[in-house]
Amino acid sequence: MRDTVLVVDDDPNLRELVSVVLEPIGVRVLAAEDGQAALSLAEAASDSILLVLLDYSMPMTDPAACVRALRTKLDLSVPIVLCTASADTAQRASELGLELTLSKPFNISTLEELVLRIRHSR
């Protein structure tokens, strides 16, 4: 059963916040500070990952390369959600070939609803 969210963000508070929000609703959270750590976690837990929350701006990480690498590690049906504070979130998602976005700052209910909707749809 896929019940894990992989959050890739260089901001430790954001990673912690995602855990605080999702763990009470039964979602396990794996946190990575950059693309390299994310790939290791994705490889280790590829069968249980429900979705990936990916920040756009991270030191040492090219988001496009990170997306391509994650696609090779995960099932193609696993959605990657672009989670960024950029003003042009939709454009950046389009550049990366992603359909789902979550603009910072976000309501925690939006995050909960997004995760639950994806979990129920599977």
Partner: protein, 497 residues
């Protein structure tokens, strides 16, 4: 040398020269023809109208003499007196106006006109008439008294009358010739003036057209360029390869607009990065506040949430202050309020604040002396330190702490902040220190990690110090140098303010 290499000033001067030349040409041709026509008029008056006028009086006298001789015999003295008077006129006519044998310029000109009109025979006719007139007058003047109204005198008087009549007709014919010649000159003058006028207009027009063609389209392009830049902020590159004033202006404008466009782009990028930087703590604040409210029963979440909100609020406040400082630095409006300060204490305080904002991570390693006094604006200096330490922390990997080292010395204290990561390129450093600077780190294209170090450099400058960015042992090193003070200096300078 092409047209575009001639300066506009010289080109306009050339145009003025051409215009003046054409006007002078027109005036010159007009003056020549006016002189010619004036000469014609003088000539007509002198050679045509005057003899015609003067023939009238002797002609009347000859007619009177003839009529008197027909009516009754008259005294020989009267005949001789009339004949003498008429002979005097005939002599004057022969001397002044008769063409045959006359070598004056006016006579030569008249002969040429007669020749042009095929009437040279008039010259011989005139000479013959004058000779006949003189013969008849000679005979009348020698008439012995008493004169009778008899055939010889009648014949001579009739011949005198005929001769005067012939002279009058001949002069009328000459008037006709002269009038035609003047008319021809007048026509020629019109043609010349019209031709010269057309030539002048063409010359002036073509010159003006050349100047207009060389200048106007380029000025129009400049105006379009300026309008488009004003309306849309778009700089359309327009390289003018000439060397005249317009080319200089155009290329200067192009460079200026390009610079403004680059600056505008940098400003927009700066604002985007600033917004991104501001949203990061706001996300944590908002998220933890909502989580705490959603789980009021969960004491751990509430406590942690409040802690994060506190830390991130402080970070947000710093960021906002940074932006305000950066704006004031750009506007040169910041206030410098120095007081005795210990930079070691300031470094520790700011370092703790940064660590707290980074989720309480222990990310700074210190190498500090006991104290390092200086005269500084603690608010400004703490902002510079906060920005440098945050900057270094963000570009360093989580696993490695950054090193903050203070070297207390005279004449300058040195604060060195050493990051742990790849070096910044010279281009990145220049860009980071520009007024709207942001930095793209090596880890990925377009990854912005901060709003730049411009205001740090400005803060160092107002303290009489400087900011160096160089290479440390394991990554970029930021060194802030500020003038130091001995304790008594500090007290003295602070008391003097």
């Amino acid at each position: 040398m092409t047209m575009r290499h001639i300066s506009v000033r010289r080109r306009l001067a050339l145009l003025v020269v051409v215009e003046v030349f054409t006007v002078l040409l027109l005036v010159g041709v007009g003056a020549v023809w006016l002189h010619k026509l004036d000469s014609d008029l003088y000539y007509v008056r002198r050679w045509v109208l005057q003899p015609v006028d003067e023939i009238g009086a002797p002609l009347e006298r000859a007619i009177g003499l003839g009529l008197a001789l027909e009516r009754e015999p008259i005294p020989a003295e009267q005949v001789r007196a009339d004949a003498e008077a008429l002979r005097s006129f005939a002599v004057r006519y022969k001397t002044v106006w008769m063409l045959a044998g006359n070598t004056s310029p006016d006579a030569a000109r008249f002969k040429a006109q007669l020749s042009d009109q095929g009437r040279l025979g008039l010259i011989d006719e005139e000479a013959r008439v004058v000779a006949a007139l003189q013969g008849a007058l000679d005979r009348l003047a020698s008439t012995p008294p008493p004169l009778l109204a008899e055939p010889p005198a009648h014949r001579d008087a009739a011949e005198v009358l005929d001769s005067f009549g012939a002279l009058l007709r001949w002069n009328m014919a000459f008037e006709d010739v002269a009038t035609k010649a003047v008319g021809q000159h007048a026509r020629q003058a019109r043609y010349w003036l019209a031709g010269t006028g057309i030539l002048a207009v063409l010359l002036a027009g073509l010159s003006a057209l050349g100047v207009q063609k060389a200048i106007a389209p380029r000025i129009a392009r400049l105006v379009t360029k300026v309008r488009r830049f004003q309306e849309r902020g778009v700089n359309e590159r327009m390289l003018d390869e000439g060397r005249d004033e317009i080319a200089i202006l155009s290329n200067a404008l192009d460079a200026g607009f390009a610079s403004i466009a680059t600056r505008n782009q940098a400003r927009e990028q700066f604002l985007a990065v600033a917004a991104h930087e501001l949203k990061t703590p706001v996300t944590s604040i908002m998220g933890f506040a909502q989580a705490a409210l959603a789980h009021p029963e969960n004491e751990a979440v509430r406590t942690r949430g409040l802690a994060v909100i506190g830390q991130q609020s402080a970070r947000l406040s710093r960021l906002i202050d940074d932006l305000l400082l950066a704006a004031r630095a750009r506007l040169d409006e910041k206030k410098f309020q120095p007081q005795p300060t210990d930079i070691v204490a300031l470094v520790q305080s700011v370092g703790g604040e940064v660590e707290a904002s980074m989720a309480g991570r222990r990310l700074i390693r210190y190498e500090l002396p006991l104290a390092a006094p200086l005269l500084a604006d603690p608010a400004l200096l703490s902002h510079a330190l906060w920005s440098l330490i945050t900057y270094a922390a963000v570009i360093s990997s989580d696993a490695e702490p950054i090193l903050v080292r203070v070297a207390a010395a005279l004449p300058c204290h040195r604060v060195e902040v050493c990051a742990h990561g790849p070096m910044l390129s010279a281009e990145d450093i220049d860009h980071a220190c520009s007024p709207f600077g942001t930095v793209s780190y090596e880890g990925g294209p377009g990854v912005h990690i901060g709003v730049g170090l411009f205001f740090c450099r400005e803060i160092a400058r107002v303290h009489g110090g400087l900011l160096r960015i160089g290479e440390g042992r394991v990554g970029p090193a930021f060194t802030l140098e500020v003038p130091s003070l001995r304790g008594d200096d500090a007290r003295h300078r602070a008391g003097g303010r």
